[in-house]
């Protein structure tokens, strides 16, 4: 079902394109040796190049280029062997040189695509127009002094990838799915940590609306610097609503840059097209054109990790997990790796059930992520092994897992310590059952009289008497035998 907004004149379709600014994972900045690490005391990760001192020159960081190429490969995009850096000129206090070095005319990455999964189980392909490398600006701090602003240049010069999508997005849900998928790919390849709270991923959202069936786009507005997926989705909704109201009131939407205020749930004009900067782009004469070799691209491609789509397909094939399970297991590479470590030495189906069930529940309960999971993959595998070889049953295993989370002990140590080893001695099971049957002779009579439901009662009583350690299959089998005597 297509997403539609109903206005007073009928239904409207929305058209959205996203420009995502993703901070490149690298030790150093795009054109200087200063640390690109997030945080730090203000103005401590700043070189003379970043601060725009006289005579300082940019020198391109090869690793940042490699990261852009890897990302391009992850987006199945064209890799441009020739690209070029341009200067985007504008004055601002946190832009030390008075220009941002970016790639305007010749980006390093051309057309690519992102496959997104939607809630109804369908998938859509969102086109990527281009990806280019550029410098981040510094940070202006206006709220610490009534008359002065402060500047922190730690971020100035850090490498960003600007990833521009085609105007292919037709609903807030698709925008959210696109961003999640993009972030997943970036995190898989290790080119951006995708942390929107720290600002390492931000989105400019281009929104327009039109009547279903119209082939031309109407005027769009750009909502700048939205810093969470939820806000992107909200911003699209309220901006589309606003534009529809403008059109329906007989007005026209002006091309402008707007800000999203998530507290008030509205967008506000930042500057109109007339006030737009003339950036006076021209090739940066301090840098040579960026020419890379196909052989290097091939090398980077060969070293690329398995990407989400490929991993899902393989997990489904190799381990027999469902489409849904593969999507959950592949959300993050670390989860998939964890799963595979467990599954390789255990029953793969059992492993998937446990990961998606009790294991994730334990992570949620403890507030841990997969990287610092209280139970290692090897530990979980051992636990599942104990189920598979009938040392413990599933119910006891849940108890053991909780103990593992709490104490960090291994599953077998806990089983030994607590004496949880499953009883498979038929003699012991038989004597336990005989005791139950003797103590409940009235119920035995009822059962024999046709009240089959009571079988469960006898199982429960037996397990209780055996402190849960009875092998369920043997208990069942023995009960049936003794009840039919």
């Amino acid at each position: 079902m297509s997403y539609r907004i109903t206005g007073s004149t009928g239904e409207w379709e929305i058209v959205v394109g996203l420009e995502v600014h993703a901070q490149v994972v690298s030790e150093a900045k795009l054109f200087s040796g200063a640390s690109a690490e997030y945080g730090g005391e203000p103005n401590t990760h700043v070189s003379l190049v970043d601060a725009g001192f006289p005579g300082m020159l940019p020198v391109l960081n090869r690793e940042c280029v490699a990261q852009a190429v890897r990302t391009g490969l992850g987006l199945e995009a064209e890799i441009n062997l020739f690209s070029r850096f341009d200067r985007k000129n504008y004055f601002y206090a946190d832009l030390p040189t008075g220009y941002q070095i970016s790639q305007f005319a010749h980006p390093i990455i051309g057309k690519g695509k992102v496959l997104v999964d939607l809630a109804d189980g369908s998938t859509r392909e969102i086109g990527v127009t281009r990806l280019h490398l550029e410098q981040d600006a510094g940070k202006s701090i206006h709220d610490q002094d009534p008359t002065r602003s402060f500047i922190d240049l730690n971020r100035a010069g850090v490498a960003l990838m600007e990833i521009v999508s085609e105007p292919d997005i037709r609903s807030p849900e698709e925008a959210g799915a696109y961003l999640r998928k993009l972030r997943q790919i970036l995190r898989y390849i290790g080119t951006c940590d995708g942390n929107m709270e720290e600002g390492s991923m931000r989105a400019d959202v281009n929104v327009s609306v039109r009547k279903p069936g119209e082939t031309e786009y109407r005027t769009r507005c750009e909502i700048k610097n939205v810093n969470s997926i939820r806000f992107v989705m909200m911003a699209i909704e309220v901006e589309a609503q606003r534009q529809i109201e403008v059109w329906e009131a007989g007005g026209t939407v002006d091309q402008e840059t707007r800000l999203f205020d998530h507290v008030r749930g509205e967008t506000r004009s930042l500057r109109s097209k007339e006030d737009a900067h003339d950036y006076r782009y021209f090739p940066d004469p301090d840098l040579l054109p960026l020419v890379i070799e196909q052989a290097w691209v091939d090398e980077l491609k060969a070293a690329l990790p398995e990407l989400p789509e490929a991993k899902r397909a393989r997990l489904e094939q190799e381990y027999g997990v469902s489409r849904y399970e593969s999507s959950v297991l592949c959300v993050e590479q670390a989860i998939a790796d964890f799963y595979e470590t467990v599954a390789r030495g255990a029953d793969a189906r059992l492993a998937a059930n446990w990961m998606l069930g009790d294991f994730f529940a334990a992570l949620n309960r403890t507030g841990r992520s997969i990287e610092n999971s209280p139970v290692s993959a090897e530990g979980l595998r051992e636990l599942l092994g104990l189920i598979s070889n009938s040392t413990i049953n599933g119910k006891i295993a849940k108890e053991v897992l909780e103990d593992m989370v709490e104490t960090g002990d291994s599953a077998s140590a806990i089983v030994e310590r607590k004496g949880l080893r499953q009883v498979t001695d038929t003699g012991a099971i038989e004597s336990a059952i005989r005791e139950i049957l003797t103590a409940n002779s009235d119920k035995v009579e009822e059962y024999k009289g046709g009240k089959d439901k009571l079988f469960g009662f006898f199982v429960g009583q037996t397990m209780k008497a055996m402190k849960g350690k009875g092998n369920p299959a043997l208990v069942n089998e023995t009960l049936k035998k003794l009840l039919s005597e």
Binding site: P54, G55, M56, R280
Partner: protein
């Protein structure tokens, strides 16, 4: 009997090595000369006599142990466009205020490594923008030469006017210059000294304040080409901190002096016979051809068909880059700040107070040619023409080894003869700009005096990274011209 001020850089170097003179003596003599003469010439913005004496002392210690680099104990002046660690660097602009860089430019670091002694920072046109050294915030530089019939103050050319004047007057044994469209060659010609603009990428631009990044190139200025060769060998070299510097070995330039010009093919670009060129410039050019022919070279006429577009395209390309390069002087992080209640106000007030008229004019033009709607007509077209100019040279160099032209369309003019039309002033660069646009090396050597007794220079233009052939050809002219004149204001006994 020659005095201490008659040393060339090369002869001083030899005398120092032979311990016939001490570096302290040599340095003190130059410091004295600066104190005596520079009040009038104004070639220095910042003098560093104490540091110079320290360095000279260290040089003597090294020399006494038989150590020391190629420039050990040699007193030099540094154009105040090169950042010098701990020494105020101004670009002759108010906007830098009392900026003291905590770093050293690669070129000056190379000279220091070879033992040079820096006497101070030399005056220039503000941000190297000018052809007469009249735009400096620290006042104009006076050319040490006088016309024989008048006492008028002459300009030393620009933008490396302080460097040229200081070398010509014997205040330093050599100086660094930078050349964007002729800023080494034209002042060298105006002051009767030699100067080399190397191939673009030969000397690192790291730590040199940028005017037009795709054109700026540092080079040596000294009394003769041997001195320039010694300096260039020290200054040049690949620098990983400048992405446009080229990783090719630095030859022993001094050795090229002795190569001679036998069999050398010297091209005469016919388009350089510009309209209105004074007869004595034309005559000097002819003289240069004769000298080279007599020394065994072959003179060939060549064509550089896009020459006439050199100046206009240069002033588009260079000023476009300059408008962007100078954006960092905004009063926020260093240099002059004029406070204002808003950020835009701070920019406007700081830049209005900090930049001089010529710099403002160039920023405006540069901003204009990059503006939306004008970019294609100006900047983009200029880039295309620049490629054509480069191809002109490449094509010419298929049939000749060097090109010979005048350096400038006139000798030094008087400060009060400065043309009121800025474009008229830009015409000074008509012969020097094309080589800059192409990126090829070029030099100027003194070749004679004009009718009023003011020096004139000849320019040689060479192939990419073939400074050696240039030096060889230039030295042949030096030998034939036997230019031993000294300016009126000069530290030596012959003055």
């Amino acid at each position: 009997m020659s005095g201490i001020h008659d040393f060339t850089l090369a002869s001083a170097r030899d005398a120092l090595k032979a311990r016939k003179i001490s570096a302290v003596e040599l340095t003190n003599a130059h410091i004295d000369a600066i104190e005596r003469l520079d009040g009038q010439l104004n070639s220095f913005i910042t003098r560093t006599p104490d540091q110079a004496r320290e360095a000279a002392k260290a040089s003597d210690e090294a020399l006494a142990k038989g150590e020391g680099g190629s420039l050990c104990g040699i007193p030099l002046g540094i154009k105040d466009l090169f950042c010098t660690n701990g020494v105020r660097t101004t670009a002759a602009s108010k906007i830098l205020g009392n900026f003291v860089p905590p770093y050293e430019s690669t070129v000056t670091a190379n000279l220091l490594k070879d033992g040079a002694v820096f006497l101070g920072k030399l005056n220039l046109d503000e941000f190297a923008m000018g052809s007469a050294n009249l735009t400096s915030a620290f006042g104009p530089v006076e050319n040490p030469w006088k016309r024989k019939d008048s006492d008028a103050k002459l300009v030393p050319g620009g933008s490396s006017g302080g460097s040229a004047a200081a070398v010509a007057a014997g205040l330093v044994l050599g100086a660094t210059g930078t050349d964007t469209g002729g800023s080494i060659r034209q002042p060298a010609a105006f002051t009767g000294i030699a100067g080399i603009k190397p191939t673009y990428g030969r000397c690192s631009r790291f730590g040199t304040i940028a005017f037009a990044s795709s054109l700026d190139q540092a080079g040596p200025m000294a009394r003769n080409l041997q001195d320039c060769a010694i300096l260039l060998e020290s200054m040049a070299g690949f620098d990983p901190r400048d992405s446009t510097s080229v990783d090719t070995p630095v030859p022993h330039y001094e050795a090229a002096l002795k190569r001679g010009v036998k069999g050398l093919r010297v091209g005469i670009p016919k388009e350089y016979h510009v309209e209105g060129m004074p007869a004595e410039i034309e005559a000097l050019w002819q003289q240069g051809m004769t000298w080279l022919r007599d020394a065994g070279a072959e003179i060939v006429e060549v064509s550089l068909p896009h020459t006439k577009y050199g100046l206009p395209t240069y002033y588009i390309a260079a000023l476009a880059e300059a408008s962007s390069n100078l954006a960092r002087y905004d009063g926020v992080r260093f240099g002059e700040r004029v406070s204002a209640p808003t950020l835009d106000g701070l920019y406007e007030a700081s830049r209005a107070a900090g930049f001089g008229d010529e710099v403002k004019r160039r920023i405006l033009i540069g901003t204009h040619v990059l503006s939306s709607g004008y970019y294609d007509a100006y900047y983009l077209r200029a880039q295309k023409v620049r490629t054509l100019i480069q191809q002109d040279f490449l094509k010419a160099f298929e049939s000749v080894d060097v090109l010979l032209t005048p350096t400038a369309p006139s000798g030094a003019f008087a400060q009060d003869e400065k043309p009121s039309d800025p474009v008229q002033m830009y015409l000074n660069d008509v012969f020097t700009v094309p080589a800059s646009m192409a990126g090829v090396p070029a030099l100027s050597v003194p070749a004679g005096l004009d009718a009023r007794g003011v020096p004139l220079g000849l320019q040689l233009i060479g192939k990419f990274f073939d400074e050696e052939t240039l030096i060889a050809a230039g030295h042949a002219i030096e030998q034939a011209a036997a230019f031993h004149h000294r300016p009126t204001i000069h530290a030596g006994v012959s003055a």
